[in-house]
Amino acid sequence: MSFDVERVRKDFPIFEREVNGHPLVYLDSANTSQKPVQVLDVMRAHQERYNGNVSRSVHTLGTESTEAYEGARARIATFIGAASPDEVVFTKNSTEAINLAAHSLGQMLRLGPGDEVVISEMEHHSNLVPWQLLCERTGATLRWFGISDDGRLDESNLDELVTERTKIVSLVHMSNVLGTVNDVTRIAARARSAGALLMLDCSQSVPHLPLDVQALGADLIAFTGHKMLGPTGIGVLWGRLDLLAQMPPFLAGGSMIETVTMAGTTFAPPPARFEAGTPPITEAIGLGAAVDYLTGLGMAAIHEHEQTITRYALDALSSVPGVRIFGPATIEGRGGTVSFGVDGVHPHDVGQILDALGVEVRVGHHCARPVCSRFSVPAMTRASFYLYTTTAEIDALARGLDQVRKVFG
């Protein structure tokens, strides 16, 4: 069965609106995705008819809420190929998931001077600053992979970077700027032989690619709901259960305890150990509905559609005079996020003119300033695609860029 993008778009009410007198052309899904009615309806129905707090109530509403919340966890676990729902920890977003990991692993490993944490120049600030801070707190040393000229991870110094001093390697799976999908097979093998833990920031990959955490070779991954048709305020830390079981808590409070006395506390097993306080219940249930929607269409079909759109966009952008694409020039090993520069025009101005034409792109450093520095630009313009993106929208982007060149020509 072929992927019917027009039918998919009918599920997204936002595409009925106009922006500045033009039909909405939404090319900013790497920033946040739009939401289908199937997700919005489930969240509304939950609030209207089932609302109760989870994991503590004896009454019917509380029980139904708990079942819906835990049901969402189980479906998300299946979606990413987790061995058990207990491997899925709900967080606020990817950033909180990575901060949780950085704090907890730092304590578990008794990180200190002489130890090393390895990241890359390709990271979003959310997978960079938490590790910088961890190293500052503990005296460990932060090291990083560079980026090659064609926007790939430079693994040429893998053996010097990942050594017996390395305790944690944390890398982006798919770059939010360059669109590069990192094949981490070699790095995972090297990390394992060095005895280091491997974490992957999958914020941009889980929404777009079929992904199986067992096959990935990572010990922990982070991703966020709002980039995969779900609401904001809900993210996931996945971890191997034997690892999560050894990790100390990050945030403390209600729901994460086993027994509390005035003298001390013992903690619940994962995932509850890492979910202090009332969680974002409706949001978790919304993310469960998003996963159902994605599963219904099939991640392989979604990925194939995005590859088609990306190929079309790379062709369209390279035929606009003065446009320079940052990152892989072909669709091999890349996803549907394309950053570019327009010669002589600042990205803010590009974005402003495109917005006046209803074309919504992201401009700036994309919370990944070192990536911009690597390519010697202060900022970039980024178009990013999803299951609802059409070739007509790419055409609108190309026409918009002609307008940009006219204004600044």
Binding site: H348, D349, Q352, P378
Partner: protein, 151 residues
């Protein structure tokens, strides 16, 4: 078109042909400001008599044109006059398009009236002005209290 208010010819002219661009010595005060959300940067240098205002930066047409206009308006002014112009420009940018700018005071700066209607771009226009204020303070020149900047 919606953008006509934003990309006035005056702004594009200043962007393409900036006045007084380039850092110069000697100077008495210097400030480097960045816009952390978009990466725009500017360095402003001033002499204590405001006889020389030099700058260099990286950024969008709005921030760079704004620096050029600042140079044109403030260089060589006495602190009281500079303060009045500075205040008027900041007030205009905070107005959401509700203030009619005075060309006598703001010169080419009136072209930025349209920018005030784009809240996301106001901080671009203000970046050189805030850097100037800091640089002037370091040179011992007080350009007075500006309306509070709400970024």
């Amino acid at each position: 078109m919606l953008l006509d208010g934003l990309y006035q010819e005056i702004i594009l002219d200043h962007y393409k042909n900036p006045h007084g661009r380039g850092l110069r010595d000697p100077f008495d005060g210097e400030a480097h400001h960045v816009n952390p959300t978009c990466g725009d940067e500017i360095t402003v240098r001033v002499s204590a008599d405001l006889g020389d205002i030099s700058y260099d930066g990286l950024g969008c047409s709005i921030s760079q044109a704004s620096a050029s206009v600042l140079h044109e308006l403030l260089e060589g002014k006495d602190p009281a006059a500079a303060s009045e112009i500075h205040h008027a420009f900041v007030e205009l940018m905070q107005s959401r398009g509700q203030v009619e700018p005075d060309e006598e005071v703001l010169g080419d700066g009136i072209a930025f009236a349209g920018v005030a209607k784009f809240p996301a771009r106001v901080k671009c226009a203000l970046l050189p002005w805030m850097a100037f204020k800091d640089a002037a303070a370091r040179a011992g020149v007080d350009v007075g209290v500006s309306p509070e900047v709400k970024a």
